[in-house]
């Protein structure tokens, strides 16, 4: 019996039994039920019923009913608070239990949890500030590097420029990831239309895709909006598209599909990633295309973490198609 109501019931039964025995002994002693001249049996039963069973029964019934009512009320309060906490978790914001929402006996627990939440929030803020500082600090040497490359002949500088660009993109992604995890995400986020976002990212990348001998297109299918940090989600989608362009065979078309629902799928016409392989890549943050060397790639891992920070996830769309999908929680009408 782990519920408070169960424990109370158990306690009442035990105290009923003990109380009954004590009363029984008292009644026996007072009326000499076990003496030399005991009263007749029906009188004995009447005495025991009147002085033991009825009082103990009435007491147990009233006390039990009262206790159960109190327990139900506290349970309702707890459920209401839990709903608020779940809502906060859904919206990825922190939550402080108000002091008067629950009985004072629970205050030590709510206070302790509030302190924990506060500390986690402060930690997330510090981490974001740290990521912002780190990004800033990393960008200055990158800027020096980019400008220095101008001294080299164009053909020698080109591959190095690509590396600087890739590094810089990664720094931006890390910063966006930190922002996505920030407690201030709720204030910063907006309503994202998957179709509009897909068109924006594809428009940005289409000329480069053409140069690399691939093409890009957008398809929409019953897409639904979701809440998020648009730039962060755009960075995730960009990573998926860039990966897909790399994985797609020459001349292939990479399709970005908005919907159904709050999802964005990038289909590359390659062999696709099995879900255990994707999990491994997400965890280790290594390059999805397994190409040796080249730009350092935390891309897929960061894309997944950004989706996760939005309450979503990055999944493979095998066996239906070869590609990856970002799923986000849909916005429910209030």
């Amino acid at each position: 019996m782990k519920s408070i109501a169960g424990k109370l019931l158990f306690g009442l039964v035990v105290s009923g039994i003990i109380g009954g025995i004590v009363l029984g002994v008292l009644v026996t002693y007072q009326y000499g039920l076990l003496g030399r001249n005991p009263p007749p049996l029906n009188r004995t039963i009447l005495e025991i019923t009147e002085h033991v069973i009825v009082p103990v029964g009435v007491f147990l019934f009233l006390f039990g009913t009262g206790a159960l009512l109190v327990v139900r009320r506290v349970e309702a309060q707890l459920k209401a608070t839990a709903r608020d906490v779940c809502q906060a978790a859904q919206e990825l914001r922190s939550y402080q239990t108000p002091g008067d929402a629950l009985p004072t006996e629970l205050k030590p627990l709510t206070d302790a949890v509030n302190v924990l939440t506060e500390r986690l929030e402060a930690h997330a803020r510090r981490q974001e500030a740290f990521a912002a500082d780190a990004a800033h600090e990393l960008k200055t040497p990158l800027a020096v590097l980019a400008v220095s490359l101008d001294r080299l002949p164009t053909d020698e500088a080109a591959p190095l420029r690509a590396q600087v660009r890739a590094l810089s993109e990664m720094v931006d992604q890390l910063l966006l990831l930190a922002r996505s995890n920030s407690p201030d995400l709720v204030q910063r986020r907006s309503l994202i239309e998957p179709g509009a976002l897909a068109r924006r990212v594809v428009a940005e990348l289409a000329p480069a895709a053409f140069q690399a001998g691939r093409s890009l297109s957008v398809e929409e299918d019953a897409a639904k909006p979701f809440h998020g940090l648009e730039e962060a989600v755009a960075a995730s989608l960009r990573t998926l598209v860039v990966n897909a362009l790399r994985a797609a065979p020459d001349g292939a078309e990479v399709v970005v599909k908005a919907g159904p629902g709050a999802s964005l799928t990038v289909i590359d016409g390659g062999t696709g990633l099995a879900s255990d392989e994707l999990e491994r890549l997400k965890a280790r943050g290594i390059r999805a295309d397994r190409a040796p060397g080249g730009a350092a790639g935390l891309g897929l891992a960061i894309a997944d973490r950004i989706a996760e920070a939005h309450g979503g996830e990055l999944v493979t769309c095998l066996p239906e198609c070869a590609g990856l999908s970002l799923h986000f929680p849909e916005v429910h009408a209030a």
Binding site: A135, H136, K139, T140, L142, A143, V144, L145, A146, V147, S148, L149, D150, R151, R161, V164, S168, D172, L175, L176, R179, A198, R199, V202, A203, E204, A206, P207, A208, F210, Q211, S215, L216, S217, V218, E219, E220, E230, E231, E253
Partner: protein, 224 residues
Amino acid sequence: MRTLIIEDNMELARLLAERLGARGIDSDIAAGIEEADDHMAVGQFDAIMLDLGLPDGDGIDWLRTLPADRPPVLILSARSTLDDRVMGLDTGADDYLVKPAEVEEIAARLRALVRRPGRRDPVILKVGNVTFDPTSRQAEVDGQVLAIGRKEADFLEILLRNAGKVVPRERLEGSLYSASDPVTPNALEAVASRLRRRFADAGEEDILHTVRGVGYFFGTRKSL
């Protein structure tokens, strides 16, 4: 052309000055706001290149204090989010580049800023072997005149003015068809394929590209 580089990282500032110098753009360097004020008091600049996080204040705040007749300002900052860029441009900066930027692009943006007042688009638009004269509405490939209709000419002009960038189909539809004009779903694609045929006949293949579900862009592998 003379610019003022306001940048606290001396190594970056010197490198920028050197590489811009190689492109005929002379620069003075200020390591902070105070130095920038000194330079502004005595020098005449065609453009200012401004870093935002400076040791003695924020570049944005300094920008607000400048008089209206100041030279055009190009912000070169590590702050890369859309909010940062919008704020920079809203404060009155004329252009915004995110670090690390390449010298070629910085120089191009500076030249564009200095050119901006009274700037005219080049009279003849040109991408690869394709040219278009916006006044006579005449398109040519390698000097060979193409026979194209009014809608094709309008379509081509918009794409050429945005060469290398994807132009959304809504924007093309808005420009090519009036609000009362019923646009059939394939109307735009029909215009694009007619143009493509004309280009192919003149020997220019693979220059007008459809991005299905988004729009169109113009460019050759070399021009992009």
